[in-house]
Symmetry: C2
Subunit: 515 residues, 2 copies
């Protein structure tokens, strides 16, 4: 279904979307997801791609993959034509690629505010915040375990960030809420404190089911069955292992037409070969098996082919980020995903630094650049990621989110219409003149250049007199100012009450568990 | 002359190079200049390039350029077929492009240590440090006027920086030496404290002549006439003005077969139109006129087509760096330079930040990335640039220089030979295993991944116990450690004495001037 058809259908479909739009007041300007008007950057030749594809098929047929604790999955694979031996699934050459063909090349994830819907695939790039850290950090409080209060603050910051399109999922782990209940509070926060699209829980199939049920309250049961309203993160246990928890969550989501990112999680040299070509071979084999499995569950289920790959510091064993090898893998994986005809997830604002300092910024900028140029369609961890994903940083969240504006402007490409050619301006100003006052400049300067909302552009003396603030200090002030002026987007009180009741009932129905 | 021919010739040429090599002891490992095994990134279509080229020729013919206080230049242009009116030179369509054809597509700049020779053009990238700041900054001393002592320290750091290929020119302005004499001390420092290639003085034609004469002492008179031993920076006063000082220096260098970067210096919206396509049109017109003029002086003189373009913050009027518009211009200018068949200069470690903080790193990394992918052949300001070029930062110098290693590794591209394919490793490890101990990893891990010499990769607890140092603090320690272990590269004492005598005599021959 095309975007236009989707809009028509939703408008025709009884006015649910229209009613939701009316109930939603928008306090903050949010940019539409990025649509690239620039080419993708590619590092692998056709011959190299052919070779990696052949090698991946060879690995699937010869070595195979493991589906752990999952007799149903093994049975599905057997029926599809794979060879099963214990938990090992060996997939004949060509089978996985054939199965992947029913996955859509692009899909729309709906938000409760239809203006925030995102299209994932083709030439788009959708940015979502950091996912998963157990710690948070800010300048005032240092590094500490994350709480639900922190989580809500990140959702608010994400809602207010102009260049961020997606509210994300586990923006930090709310460690003050029981493990078996925190997904409820997290989803409630995304649904009520923001109107942007979000991710569902994957830590247990039952929690994926809860996520679907809460979406049915928010969007309407029929709407959820017909439309994608969540994109959730299914990691593969590299090398080549698919565990029952993640596969269980995938099964719930695929059966309910909800999207999943199927993503190897690789520290190169540990979970994959220490070479780029070898890692890409394994990534492709894992993606072929994982995406094919999603289509065995439900042909046509929306998926994103992911590649989360870092390098390793062989001195310390620590994962490293923003490295050239990680960029090579991102560029190569993007090429492989496009040849599969699938939306592609990779990149982020990744860094290994403990602080939101220069190291974190160099590493993040390298990853941001590679993600834009490498054709990434869904960028998780686009802002706020610190210390190899152990920490969600408040300051880095707003700085990275500001940086995403650069990607928006880069993606626009270069206009070459008559106004952009500016021939009359060049004639008017001539040798030795200046352009500040000329008509063309006056007409165009407001939109000509991207401008930061965080960084310092002031003259040295002004900057010095204002306290010689570094980036972290400027960012702390921005976090404070944003949270102080946050206004909750309107939501039908009846829906809000039903969501709260669902969460309360669920939480009351089971004892706290902290594993 | 090809590289191979040049080597042969120099070896044949009486043993001067061989003798220099014997006299030179190398204390520090320096990487060869970057050779790209990856494609260039291009944002403009053929149609857009054709249009910009046609517009630039139109501007040259219709509006023209000014050559100021330079009757000789006007006469050269008149003889070549241009129309002269006052100081205005109008160049008929096609003439400038035709004249540019005698400029070499690539040339070798020789260093006194032949192992440090660089090839500029084609698929190479040569990195040189920051150029021009009147101030320096370090964590201990803050921001202050630069001195000759600072200058010498930067030359030493550059010599010791593995990924930096070039010693540069005015790495900071030694403000404690008279303006009319400081070029002598600066050249002496490059010649004696480093064995990497360097730049000559351009602040007056007589100082360019001094630079040539000092090179004749260092390399031998005959060698200098037959080989390029300096690459110097000739800025165009955009829009479309060529002043007599810069053109006078260009004349000296071109006549002596020495290379010049001919480079518009543009803050977009002030010195060029506020649009990317308009700026590229003006950049190309200026380059065509400037490079053509170098060939009128001496056909075949080596030149680099430069594009130093920043955007402007229309709120404060400040130049801004690392912006998406600057990247668009870099990518586009690279395409135009390649169509002209000329080596291309742009990029750098550019930033507007006052401190070597996160802002400076984001901005720098964007510019580094664009320079590598955009096909830059000579990157001035690759390390140490701070505060829009007002400040040379000691800490940023070593951090940026470390970052250049990333560009080296990215440029290598992706190997796909049997070892890189790693099929046996994937077979050996299998689903659920790990690669740390496998034979392929053991064989390859030492060279597989780029590794920083500055950043922190340690576990949080170790990092915390060692003082929770941020990037600037780590960089300060590295600066101190490098300067403490610096060893001067050997130089024939006779040559060293002659150079010192030349500098002393010149300085004694004229009173100090501070303008």
């Amino acid at each position: 279904m095309t975007e236009a058809a989707a809009r028509t259908r939703r408008t025709r479909g009884g006015g649910g979307a229209a009613r939701r739009a009316e109930r939603t007041s928008v306090s903050f300007d949010t940019a539409k997801y990025i649509e690239r008007n620039i080419p993708n950057y590619e590092v692998l030749s056709e011959a190299a791609l052919d070779m990696i594809e052949a090698n991946a098929e060879q690995i699937l047929e010869e070595v195979g993959v493991n589906f752990v604790n999952n007799p149903t999955a093994l049975e599905r694979w057997r029926e599809a034509g794979a060879t099963i031996e214990g938990e090992r699934v060996r997939i004949p050459k060509g089978l996985a690629r054939e199965l992947c063909k029913t996955a859509p090349a692009s899909f729309t994830q709906h938000a409760r505010n239809p203006e925030r819907n995102v299209v994932i695939g083709g030439n788009t790039l959708v940015c979502a915040p950091v996912y998963g850290p157990p710690f948070v950090r800010d300048a005032a409080g240092g590094r500490r375990y994350a709480t639900m209060d922190d989580f809500q603050k990140f959702v608010k910051l994400g809602y207010m960030s102009k260049w961020l399109h997606h509210s994300g999922g586990t923006v930090c782990e709310p460690t003050d809420v029981a493990v078996n209940k925190r997904h409820l509070d997290m989803l409630l926060a995304h649904m009520t404190l923001s109107d942007k699209p979000f991710m569902g829980s994957v830590t247990d199939p039952s929690r994926a089911q809860d996520s679907v049920e809460m979406c049915e309250i928010l969007f309407g049961k029929e709407f959820v069955q017909e439309n994608t309203v969540m994109t959730s993160l299914i990691n593969i246990n590299s090398p080549m292992t698919f565990d029952d928890i993640m596969m269980g969550a995938l099964e719930v989501y695929a059966q309910n037409n909800q999207a999943c990112i199927i993503s190897p999680f690789i520290v190169g040299g540990a979970m994959a070969p220490v070479s780029v070509a070898g890692t890409l071979t394994q990534v492709l084999a894992e993606l072929l098996a994982g995406v094919a499995y999603s289509q065995l569950i439900k042909p046509g289920a929306p998926v994103i082919a992911g590649a989360f790959v870092t390098s390793i510091d062989m001195n310390s064993g620590a994962p490293t980020f923003g490295t050239p090898e990680a960029s090579h893998i991102l560029y190569g994986a993007g090429q492989l995903a496009r040849r599969l005809g699938l939306p592609f997830r990779s990149g982020g604002g990744l860094c290994g630094s403990k602080l939101p300092d220069a190291q974190s910024a160099y590493e993040t900028a390298h990853t941001h650049n590679a993600a834009l140029l490498g054709g990434v369609n869904f960028m998780l961890h686009a802002c706020g990621w610190l210390e190899g994903g152990l920490v969600s940083s408040f300051e880095k969240f707003v700085v990275d989110a500001d940086q995403l504006g650069i990607l928006h402007h880069l993606a626009r490409g270069v206009e070459v219409d008559e106004n952009a050619q500016a021939m009359d301006a060049i004639r008017e100003v001539g040798p030795g003149g200046h352009y500040l006052g000329c008509e063309h400049t006056q007409k165009n300067f407001k939109t000509a250049f991207w401008r930061t909302d965080v960084f310092d552009y002031k003259p040295f003396e002004t900057w010095h007199d204002e306290g010689a603030r570094d980036t972290q200090t400027l960012a702390s002030a921005r976090v404070e100012q944003m949270l102080a002026t946050y206004q909750q987007p309107a939501l039908d009180p009846e829906i809000a009450a039903k969501l709260q009741a669902y969460v309360d009932d669920k939480k009351a129905s089971m004892p706290d568990a902290f594993v």
